[in-house]
Amino acid sequence: MTIRSMLLAGAAAVMMTAGGAGAKTLVYCSEASPEGFDPAPYTAGTTFDASSKPVYDQLVEFKPGTTEIEPGLAESWDVSDDGLTYTFNLRKGVKFHSVEGFTPSRDFNADDVIFSFDRQGNKDNPYYAYAPGVSYEYYAGMDMPTIIKSIEKVDDYTVKFTLSEPNAPFLADLAMDFASIMSKEYADKLAGEDRKADINNVPVGTGPFSFVAYQKDAVIRYKANPDYFKGKTPVDDLIFAITPDPAVRMQKLQAGECQIMPYPSPADIQALRDDSNIKVDEQPGLNVAYLAYNTTQAPFDKPEVRKALNMAINKDAIIDAVFQGAGQVAKNPIPPTMWSYNKDIKDDAYDPEQAKKMLDEAGVKDLEMNIWAMPVQRPYMPNARRTAELMQSDLAKVGVTANIVSYEWGEYLKKSKDPTRDGAVILGWTGDNGDPDNFLAVLLGCSAAESGANRAFWCDQKFDDLITKARQSSDQAERTKLYEQAQEVFKEQAPWDTIAHSTVFMPMSTKVSGYVMSPLGGHDFYGVDISE
């Protein structure tokens, strides 16, 4: 008897004794441990995959596979003509999960909605700082404290949000993970028992899966919610097998120890495609990697100099060498899957001769500059150091001496925000809510130039007027036009060299059906089935 047949025999025995035969289990080889199960205090996708995606719902949700908004816990909503009031009509008869020590006595209602937002914005809410160091960075980061003026309960199934100024992306913000709706009844019970921190350990939501158990750094178990308001998901159990190393995830997938995995190494994609038991889905990521010049410092204050440097850099070579083909050259600051992406923009083509000429004409001679390379790997940038080296050798060909500098990640983020900093910074962004405002205003707006999130410190009045107008309009067609124009201004002024949008791969067993990749990058297993 080999070890394997012993295992199989043992497994069969257990299946019979446990009576689990026929229960469908989907195993997902996740890439890291969640930081907790309350999505609001965190910003990492891994944490959302384990908390808001399976366990929670939001008032509005992203339609699977798109960045469009569809009804969630709110059945419908009305926006006032001035764009200042959003009234949500809540779904009736939605049940929260039961967990050990808590069985909900009532259905979801307006109190839960008020609680879920109030705790993040109101310092007097008992859950504002329920454990040391808890803070709601996403709520703050999406500017909710300024945007939301008040939230009122009209009746048990109607909630009214009043904004301080019209803000078109607001609806998409409400579909984000931080806006997950928690049970107030559960929170009150925990507070009464002086164990508020358990809201981050044992989540209670309305979502397609209810939480069963978490063994730290090893396994998370969920079971299907039979009462889910969109209908029960096809599998009975969902298991996250936490597997940090990508090569090991791939081995587990091939051995059948899990059926689906995120973030394969680009180098392994071909081998996975060649495996007849595995299929590989792919999609452009909702991200951008860029090189931001400091436009307040000479000679980078001149658009023609920035354009010349852009033309000196061979981006195709970066896609080949650094992204190993798992990416595409970026020409706009927003990715091509996003609405209002301007297809007609012409990128500054790679042309070292022309670049050299332009630099001469601009009077730039013997330029010595720094290129900042991030010390970490990010979804939009597999290897910043290597990218910087390629840029360095390209720039040398047009007579520019580039020095590569790097700092520890936290320092890097801080120092690169300093407007007196030198040279150009490699950085990137992954979209939060699928709205162009989330790229263009956050990374290139004038107020971002002041805060430093705009690493180019580029404040162009024309561009800023366009995106401000677009943010305040609720007419999608008008917004699209404004954003398209903004992208033209961006290209003329070239505050960045737009480097790449990475490609996201999702290898899975051919037995898996119904998995839809989200352009926002999260992993959601509602509706996924598995054949025996």
Binding site: T2, G10, S33, P132, K216, P244, G410
Partner: protein, 335 residues
Amino acid sequence: MLRFIIGKILWLIPTLIGITIVAFGFVRVLPGDPVLLMAGERGLSPERHAELAHQLGFDRPLWQQYLDFIWQLAHGNLGDSLVTHKPVLGEFFALFPATLELGVCAMFLAVVIGVPIGVLAAIKRGSWFDQATMGTALVGYSMPIFWWGLLLIILFSGILQWTPVSGRISLMYYFPNGTGFMIWDALMSGQSGALASALSHLILPAVVLATIPLAVIARQTRSAMLEVLGEDYVRTARAKGMPPRRVVGVHALRNAMIPVITTIGLQVGMLMAGAILTETIFSWPGIGKWMVDSISRRDYPSVQGGLLMIALIVMFVNLIVDLLYGLINPRIRHR
């Protein structure tokens, strides 16, 4: 003997104080700000940064933060993780059984295989066996753990399909109220197949983690043995006509064991370093991987608490080793 033990334990106190300073200082010497790392690309305003730093106490002078740490420590509290917001001590003990189980098995393999090989190689000095094993030991000693682990997974789990790829037990077994020692839990669960599953998950990581200590122990045993075999009393014992088995097994081995036990004690510290890589490859939920994650997030309480606990354990093991010397060689006790 009691005085000897008490003396040893008293010596641990200054060491312990030194360790608290190193553990506290180490993570703060590293560049990087935990508040900035929490925010990532999204960043946060200077006001918000100051507010959070204040909330976490990072705006106070270092000596004050250190005294707080000691004060908490005196109350048996290592603080709360900045990431999970849970008590560090609880996190440590949730993960420690996994590391201990892996470490003990690896050490067991290393000793049970390493010592006999070393002894045999010493007896048959210069033979093909000696040369082959010592050559292999040299390779084992210089083995890049990450590569070695992956190689074994690809061979035994991928191609031969003898062992599972990673994890501690098949996902179908689940012990909600387990001790965290998977072998024990599997045994106690009474489910047939659970123990086989736990062992089959343990074997590859244990072999990988045992590789370097095994090589070191085999080489150390061989050289200690050779030294002892050249001693006068061994020659005398042989001259008296004592059977070779007894000469080697009793007289020589006992004395050769002293440096070997020292090596084993030191290898426990090395095992922690090896555990970091081994746990990452085999998705083994232990403290090695936890420490790496905590360091990269600059989770100060987790790093300083974890380092302290690891240091305590290594110190404890070395204390045991010191006591073992006393058992093996009575002269040490009386010095």
